[in-house]
């Protein structure tokens, strides 16, 4: 078998092992490359910075085990930013599996910054099923206390200090959604109607079609996958899971590029050899 044929017939299982080894390199070698923030991540960061002191932020977190690699870094960095600034926020989800993931992050960050539940953040847990987002988001935007009624601990909204003056979406300065899919309902029923700013934190696979929302100013910023999480972590000066994942991802992407180049070089050589043989 010639070299170009051997190169095109590497067993899949060998490729999988090489992939696993490639992404495991940063476990053994602590690598740090500069991670400059992109325009969309800076937009998200600036949006949080621009929220005036004491004004409320809404965070909607739908990530879970399936998207932990991309969204955990985003969530951690955003919560760090909000809690460091002392920006009160509410958090809720449309994915029943999500609360344990984001609560772990919030509780650890709150301990570090001395933040108090009820005053600095409120958790509403699983409030709206994914299939009913259009109804739930509209109802919540129209009458937040009336729809939410009580937090995940059963405390009525009226008794939560952070939500003393909240009536509707006008009382939120910023909405941040973190999850696999962009929650278009926030654009359709909140941003378009009340003008509240929206930031997306989404998986990279869904970001391709979401850049157009930035162009039309329907969203003010976006965190794209693990890269967005890593960039935000660098901006808030708290490198964590996002930076770890993106370093490992560098090797994974380099591997794919190398394989594609190698396979195409081999294919080109094969085509040339065949042409020489026939001609």
């Amino acid at each position: 078998m010639r070299w170009y044929e051997r190169l095109q017939r590497i067993d899949n299982r060998v490729l999988y092992v090489i992939l696993a080894v490639a992404v495991a390199v940063p476990v053994f070698a602590r690598l740090r490359l500069p991670i400059p923030p992109t325009t969309e991540t800076l937009g998200a960061y600036d949006a949080v910075e621009a929220v005036p002191p004491g004004r409320l932020v809404m965070v909607q977190s739908t990530w879970d085990a399936g998207t932990i690699g991309e969204c955990e870094g985003q969530c951690r960095a955003v919560v760090e930013h909000l809690m460091r600034r002392g920006q009160p926020f509410v958090i809720w989800t449309s994915n029943p599996a999500s609360p344990p993931f984001y609560n772990r992050i919030i509780e650890e960050t709150a301990r570090r910054h001395g933040r108090i539940y009820g005053r600095d953040w409120v958790d509403f847990g699983y409030k709206v099923p994914g299939g009913a987002m259009a109804f739930g988001v509209q109802a919540m935007a129209r009458d937040f206390p009336g729809y939410m009624k009580s937090d995940v601990r059963g405390t009525p909204v009226s008794r939560l200090p952070a939500l003393a003056r909240v009536r509707n979406a006008n009382d939120f300065d910023l909405i941040i959604t973190i999850g696999y899919n962009p929650i278009g309902e926030f654009i359709q029923f909140v941003q378009a109607v009340y003008g509240t700013k929206v930031v997306f934190g989404i998986a990279a696979i869904n970001s391709t079609t979401t850049y157009s929302y930035i162009d039309s100013k329907q969203i003010v910023g976006m965190l794209v996958g693990a890269r967005g999480g890593a960039e935000y972590e660098v901006l808030v000066d708290r490198a964590g899971r996002g930076v770890q994942i993106i370093m490992a991802q560098s090797f994974g992407h380099l591997l794919i590029v190398a394989l594609v180049v190698m396979a195409n070089i081999a294919a080109l050589a094969q085509r040339r050899a065949e042409r020489r043989r026939s001609g």
């Binding site: 899949n12 299982r13 999988y16 992939l19 696993a20 992404v23 495991a24 476990v27 053994f28 602590r30 325009t39 399936g66 998207t67 932990i68 690699g69 991309e70 029943p96 599996a97 847990g125 699983y126 409030k127 099923p129 259009a134 109804f135 278009g184 309902e185 654009i187 359709q188 029923f189 378009a192 109607v193 998986a203 990279a204 696979i205 869904n206 970001s207 391709t208 157009s212 929302y213 162009d215 039309s216 100013k217 329907q218 794209v224 996958g225 693990a226 890269r227 770890q244 994942i245 490992a248 991802q249 994974g252 992407h253 794919i256």
Partner: protein, 232 residues
């Protein structure tokens, strides 16, 4: 404890059991990469069962109990017959879904399906208009950009390229008339070229998403289960 040799976490204790279970589950799924096998099928069915069980339980505890059962019982004990009637109507409509399982009652399930679909269609009007109309408006970019508003993406060249690309791609998807005219064929060809660039973006973003999850799983096995590495 950390180190360069694997020293797995102890399987005794709740945390240890959880990590060991997670590691075995991960390896069971990854075994599919080598070949389809019984262990993988077992894990796959377990995942299916767990997912279904979780979905049913959370639907009951987070929607049916707070939004239906609690209002029904409180309405009954407080004699709020309007609330009770509404809850009974919801029950009847909800049970109509199960008319699907008999030939004579399948039309009942179609009614409640029609209700859901009709509501979805109604909401879709508002959703699509609020979502897409601002984008349509923002697409009309001006070739003239005042100096103080110029950015890397908002300048004369970029705006012209934007409009040209958008029109060419639109002409590519124009199936209402046959693309006979040379200008239409040329713009369609240019549109296809720019579409290829976007497909490349789709592909690379898909790789990025999947790779992130894979990395997280590999790191779990190495750093949390086997506790390898300087930070593991």
């Amino acid at each position: 404890m950390t180190g360069w040799l694997p020293h797995p976490v102890s399987p005794f204790g709740w945390q240890g059991i959880t990590i060991w279970l997670g590691a075995l589950a991960t390896l069971a799924i990854f075994s599919f990469l080598f070949r389809e096998n019984r262990v993988y099928r077992f894990a796959e069915h377990t995942l299916l069962g767990l997912g279904i069980g979780f979905g049913i339980a959370t639907t009951i505890t987070d929607i049916i109990i707070p939004k239906w059962w609690t209002p029904l019982t409180e309405g009954w004990s407080g004699r709020h017959w309007g609330v009770v009637t509404l809850c009974l109507v919801e029950l009847v409509l909800g049970l109509m879904w199960y008319g699907l399982y008999h030939r004579k009652t399948v039309w009942l399930s179609r009614i409640v399906m029609g209700l859901a679909i009709g509501a979805g269609a109604g909401v879709a009007f508002k959703a699509e208009i609020n979502d897409k109309l601002p984008q349509i408006i923002a697409s009309f970019k001006s070739p003239y950009v005042p100096a103080r508003e110029v950015t890397m993406f908002n300048n004369t060249t970029s705006n012209i390229v934007f409009v040209v690309v958008m029109l060419c791609v639109l002409s590519y998807f124009f199936f209402s008339v046959e693309q006979k005219h040379a200008a239409l064929r040329a713009s369609s060809r240019v549109g296809r070229i720019f579409l290829m660039l976007t497909f490349g973006v789709f592909f690379s973003n898909a790789i990025m998403t999947r790779m992130s999850v894979f990395i997280e799983r590999v790191w779990f096995l190495l750093t949390e289960w086997l506790r390898i590495g300087p930070g593991g």
